[in-house]
Amino acid sequence: MPDTVVVVGAGLTGLACAASLPGRIRPVVVDRIPVPGGVHGWDTDETRSAEAAARSRGAILHLGETATRWDGEELLVMGQDGVRRIPARALVVAAGSRPLGRAELGLAGPRPAGILAATVACHLSETGLLAGRRPAVVGGGDWAARAVAELLHAGAEHIQVVTPDGVLRRFPESPALTVRTATPVAVEGGPRVSALRLQGGERVECDALVLAHGLVPLRNVDGAVWEGARTVYAQPADDPATVSAARQAGAAAAAEVEQMLDAA
C-alpha cells in the first residue's frame, strides 16, 4: 500500500500538486465544491487537463466534501455520504485565497449591512442578488475586476473603485465605472452602509461596499492554519494565481512534500 498524501483544494494548484507527486505516493484530493477547478472554474480546458493529469497519476478525488481537522496523521473529512478519516503522511493546503476582511484592512466605524467580501459579492450576484446600485469596491486586483464585472452584470448603475495601492487589472470598459487611488480608513452608515471614508477626509457615497483588496490564504482546516505537523502550503501570493503560477505552486508543493517524507 503506497503512502497517501492529501491535497485540500481541487483548483489548478491542488490538481497540479497531485499530478506532480512521485509515483510511490497515492494522492487524494478533497474539495468542498462538488466540481474541480476552484476559482478558475470547472468548465475550462485548463481544469479538464489538470484533472486528467492528476487522475492519470492515480489521484482519488473526493469532491463536495469538507476537510475539517488534521492531526499530523489523519484528516477528518465531512461529506453528504458520511465521515471520512484519511490516514496520510502529509497534508497539502491548496485552498486558494480571499481578499482582506474589514479588520485586516483596519477600517474603522460602525458595522452596517451591505459590506461584503468580493467572494460573496460575486457569488450573490451570480445567483440573482443585486448587492448595491451604487456600490464602492476597495481594491484593484483580479478580485476587484471580477466583482466589478459581476456587479455591472447584476444591474449596478455606478461603481466607484478605490484602489489602495494603485494596482489595476483588467477592468471592464464602462462609463459606469470611476477608479481612483486612495486609502480607505472608515465606513459610515446604518442600517446599511452609506459611505466609505478615505484618508484625507473625502467620502465616497455608496449603498454597498465590496472588499476586494489584497489576498489572504484561506485556511479552514484545524491543525493546518499557520504551522501544522507534516503540512505544506501551496497558496501562491498572486491575485489569484495565473494558470502557470498555479502549476508552479503545485509542483513546488509536491517537491516540498517529497523532501519532507525523505527527511522523515
Binding site: 468542498r32 469538507t66 475539517t68 477528518l76 465531512m78 461529506g79 453528504q80 455520504d81 458520511g82 465521515v83 480571499r98 481578499p99 476582511g101 474589514r102 479588520a103 485586516e104 483596519g106 474603522a108 466605524g109 460602525p110 458595522r111 452596517p112 449591512a113 451591505g114 461584503l116 467580501a117 467572494t119 460573496v120 457569488h123 450573490l124 450576484s125 445567483t127 440573482g128 442578488l129 443585486l130 448587492a131 448595491g132 446600485r133 452584470h153 447584476a154 444591474g155 480608513v185 472608515a186 446604518g190 442600517p191 446599511r192 449603498d207 454597498a208 484561506l218 485556511r219 479552514n220 484545524d222 492554519v225 499557520w226
Partner: protein
C-alpha cells in the same frame, strides 16, 4: 398585539439580565412577556462583552454586586449544561508588569478573600507555568482559579429559549414608547407594535433603563453607554491559552484582558469610554491600537495577523449600580438596572433576586409551573466533537459543512431555525451557531449561509436582514 391577553409580569429588555429573569419566572405559573426593542434578544451589551463569568474576586466587598456575583458562581456548570451553553472554569491570571502593579496585588488577594473567593499570589515563574504565554517580564500575578468563560450569546439565547419553551411570550422589534398608569401603579406597556397590559413591570432595559423609568413615571436615574472596543483573534492562537490573562484592575476599570473563548478564539478588550449615543458602535484605529499594545504587553505571542474581527459594544454605566428594587413611586415597577459590567456573571442570582422582589411586591410568582422544562435539549455541534460519525448517523445534514471556519453544518442551521426563538437575521444565526463568525468572516460562506436563511425563512435573499430588518443583504434582485 391585540388579543395577546394580559400578563402578570412584563419584562422590558431582552438582554442577558431580562432573559435570565424570564427563565426564572417561566418556572412559575405567572403569565410573562418580554418586550425588546431590537429584532433579537441579546443585541446590546449581552452580545459585546468579554465572556468572562467572574467568580466575584474583584468585586468591591460588601456590595450587592459582590453578593450576587459570588452567589451565582458555584452554579455555572449546572446552569450552562441546562441551557446548552458552552462554559469552562479555566481561571484568571492578573499579571503585574510594573512595581505599582505588584504593590496592588496584595489588595487584590485581600479583596478576593473578603468576597470568599480563592486567590493565590504567585511569582512570575509560577504564572508562566500556569500560562506559558504570559510575558517573561511578568513580576508576579494573582491566580483566581474559579473564574470561568462562557459563550455569552448562547447564554442569553439559552435563557430566552428555555423561557419561550415554557410559555414566556417574546415581543421583538417592540421598543417601549410609554406606559399606562392608574393611580400609582403601571397597568400597561405601550410599544411600537402594540399595547400589553401588565400586572407588574420589570425594568431590565440596560442602557435604556433610566429612560424606561422616566416613561413609567418612576424614580429618576441616569444610565449611559460605556463603550468597549475589542479584537477577536484566531482559534489557532486562542486554542493555546489555558487561562484568562489580565492586568491589575484599578478603580475605574478592570483593564484589558486576553480571554480565550469557549470556541477557542481569543478576545482582547474591553476599553471603557463613556458615550452619549447607545447605538454608537464605531471602532476607532487609535483605541484598537491601544488594546493590541496592552494585550501584547501581557502576551507577546499575540500578533496583528491573528486578528479576524474588531467590534465595539456599549455596556450600561449608571449613577447607581445594581439598582435591584421596587420603584419608590411606582410600587409594581421593579428595577433590574445599573448592572454595569457584570450582567453575565451576576445574571443567575439577579434573576433570583428579582423573583423575590416580585413576590414581595405581590406578583403571582410563587406557584410552580407543573410542566416547566428545566433544561434544553442540546443541539450537538461538529466543531471539536469527538465522534462526528455519531452526529452523521443521527442526522445526515451533519455531513454538510456550510461555514468551513467554524465548521457549522446544515444540521446546526436547521436546528437554530427550529428553535422557539429562531434567528430573524444572518446575525441571529451567527449568534446561535457561529456561522460566518470565523476567521474568514463569511468571505467563503456568507452567500451559502444566506441562501439557507432564505430557505428557512421564506424570504427573498436581497430582503434578508443581516441584523435589523432594514439592514438588508442586498438592494434588490439582479437584472435578469
Amino acid at each position: 398585539m391585540s388579543g395577546d391577553g394580559a400578563f402578570d409580569v412584563v419584562i422590558v429588555g431582552g438582554g442577558v439580565v431580562g432573559c435570565a429573569i424570564a427563565r426564572r419566572l417561566s418556572f412559575t405559573t405567572a403569565r410573562v412577556a418580554v418586550v425588546e426593542a431590537a429584532h433579537d434578544v441579546g443585541e446590546g451589551a449581552s452580545k459585546g462583552n468579554t465572556g468572562i463569568a467572574t467568580c466575584g474576586a474583584d468585586c468591591t466587598p460588601g456590595t450587592l454586586e459582590a453578593e450576587l456575583v459570588t452567589r451565582s458562581a458555584p452554579g455555572w456548570e449546572a446552569l450552562c449544561a441546562s441551557l446548552d451553553t458552552p462554559w469552562e472554569r479555566i481561571g484568571t491570571l492578573c499579571v503585574a508588569l510594573t512595581e505599582d502593579d505588584e504593590a496592588a496585588l496584595g489588595h487584590l488577594v485581600e479583596q478576593a478573600r473578603a468576597n470568599g473567593c480563592e486567590a493565590e499570589l504567585v511569582s512570575g515563574d509560577r504564572a508562566r507555568e500556569l500560562e506559558p504565554l504570559v510575558t517573561g517580564s511578568a513580576r508576579a500575578a494573582v491566580h483566581i482559579p474559579a473564574d470561568g468563560i462562557v459563550d455569552s450569546l448562547r447564554l442569553t439565547i439559552g435563557y430566552a429559549e428555555l423561557a419561550a419553551r415554557n410559555g414566556v411570550r417574546f415581543f421583538l422589534s417592540s421598543p417601549v414608547t410609554g406606559f399606562e398608569v392608574d393611580g400609582e401603579r403601571v397597568t400597561a406597556v405601550h410599544t411600537a407594535t402594540g399595547t400589553i397590559s401588565a400586572g407588574f413591570v420589570v425594568n431590565a432595559a440596560g442602557v435604556g433603563a433610566g429612560q424606561v423609568s422616566a416613561l413609567a413615571g418612576g424614580e429618576p436615574f441616569r444610565c449611559w453607554p460605556r463603550q468597549g472596543q475589542y479584537w477577536l483573534l484566531d482559534r489557532e492562537l486562542g486554542g493555546r491559552f489555558r487561562k484568562v490573562v489580565g492586568g491589575v484592575p484599578n478603580e475605574r476599570t478592570r483593564g484589558i484582558y486576553c480571554v480565550p473563548t469557549t470556541n477557542r478564539s481569543l478576545l482582547l478588550g474591553p476599553t471603557a469610554d463613556d458615550r452619549e449615543d447607545p447605538d454608537d458602535r464605531a471602532v476607532s484605529r487609535d483605541v484598537l491600537e491601544h488594546v493590541l499594545e496592552a494585550a501584547r504587553r501581557l502576551v507577546p505571542a499575540i500578533r496583528r495577523e491573528h486578528a479576524i474581527k474588531t467590534f465595539a459594544a456599549n455596556r450600561p454605566a449608571s449613577d447607581t449600580t445594581y439598582r435591584l428594587e421596587a420603584d419608590g413611586w411606582r410600587p409594581n415597577l421593579i428595577h433590574a438596572a445599573g448592572i454595569r459590567s457584570t450582567g453575565v456573571s451576576g445574571s443567575p442570582a439577579i434573576a433570583e433576586q428579582v423573583h423575590e422582589l416580585l413576590a414581595e411586591a405581590g406578583a403571582p410568582v410563587l406557584d410552580e409551573h407543573p410542566r416547566a422544562l428545566a433544561a434544553l435539549e442540546p443541539l450537538p455541534r461538529l466543531l471539536h466533537h469527538p465522534r462526528p460519525e455519531e452526529l452523521f448517523a443521527a442526522d445526515r445534514r451533519y455531513g454538510q459543512v456550510v461555514c468551513a471556519c467554524e465548521q457549522v453544518t446544515a444540521a446546526e442551521i436547521a436546528g437554530a431555525f427550529a428553535m422557539a426563538l429562531p434567528p430573524r437575521s444572518v446575525d441571529g444565526l451567527r449568534k446561535r451557531t457561529r456561522a460566518t463568525g470565523g476567521r474568514c468572516q463569511g468571505a467563503v460562506c456568507l452567500a451559502g449561509v444566506s441562501f439557507l436563511c432564505s430557505l428557512h425563512t421564506a424570504t427573498a435573499p436581497w430582503l434578508l436582514a443581516q441584523s435589523e430588518p432594514t439592514a438588508t443583504l442586498g438592494v434588490g434582485p439582479a437584472d435578469a
